[in-house]
């Protein structure tokens, strides 16, 4: 195995760890907004690491370029999707945890 192979393997492993963490965070975090944060780890770091790791496995031809295009479009669409989800949740009246706590406090006093 060459140095590039080791680098690629390390990146793939890192991407795997980030993706897994995102999935686990999705279940562990308490509310909707914090769960979006967990999924954005998979969205950004996981995707970046896996695609860069795969790009190092190619012969640096058109396939590499296509992988980089995929990465570019993922980086554009991922946050746009998260933003659309969060915005519609907020406009639909979903409260964040600090706002809920404030509301509960006001209700008691």
């Amino acid at each position: 195995m060459s140095a590039l192979d080791y680098l690629s393997a390390a990146l793939l492993l890192l991407g795997f760890i980030f993706s897994l963490s995102g999935a686990i965070g999705l279940f562990r975090f308490p509310d909707f907004f914090t769960r979006i944060h967990a999924s954005s780890v998979t969205d950004s770091s996981g995707a970046v690491c896996i695609i860069l790791g795969l790009a190092l496995q190619t012969n640096f031809d058109l396939v590499t370029v296509k992988l980089l295009f995929i990465l570019f479009f993922l980086l554009l669409t991922g946050p746009t999707g998260s933003h659309a989800l969060a915005k519609s949740a907020r406009h639909g009246g979903l409260l964040t945890i600090p706002e809920c706590q404030e509301k509960a406090k006001d209700g008691v006093s």
Partner: protein, 159 residues
């Protein structure tokens, strides 16, 4: 001339995706580029957004910096995920976006969302609403590192 820029961009994009060099397929590519250009031209009639394509040099400076930021905050969020949910103290705040050039506000909001731990919930002319997993990331954004970087990379006036 922005249509010429679009022509070159689309042609390069088509060539990189296909890799075919036969005359028949190349002419198909030319036809698709022409159709897209026609659509762009017609869309300008109703669309008053700035229609220039910025210099790719600025993006080449900005993207590696952004990837580094993503990596740093990913590690932070990953640590939060594995150490337990009791420590999570989410907060929400409104940040001013006046220091960011007009046509880079979307990029700014997108960069905030792309960075794990912060999420742009709403964006309007003056401010962006940010939800953060930890209040420290809000403070970091308030210091304006990311906004400054965008303003510095693209420059204030031309964008």
């Amino acid at each position: 001339m922005y249509l010429a820029k679009w022509t070159i961009l689309l042609a390069v994009f088509w060539l990189l995706l296909s890799g075919f060099m036969q005359p028949l397929l190349l002419s198909f590519g030319a036809i698709s580029v022409a159709i897209v250009l026609l659509v762009i031209k017609r869309m300008d009639v109703i669309d008053e957004q700035p229609r220039t394509i910025g210099s790719p040099l600025a993006a080449l400076i900005y993207i590696p910096w952004l990837l580094y930021q993503i990596f740093l905050s990913s590690i932070q969020v990953t640590r939060l995920i594995w150490t337990g949910k009791t420590k999570v103290s989410p907060s929400i705040a409104k940040l001013p976006v006046s220091s960011v050039p007009e046509n880079k506000k979307v990029l700014y909001a997108n960069s905030i969302t792309l960075t794990p731990g912060t999420l742009s919930v709403d964006l309007d002319e003056e401010e962006v609403t940010v939800h953060a997993l930890e209040s420290s990331s809000i403070e970091e954004l308030e210091q304006g590192g990311m906004a400054d970087k965008i303003a510095k990379t693209w420059g204030k006036k031309n964008g």
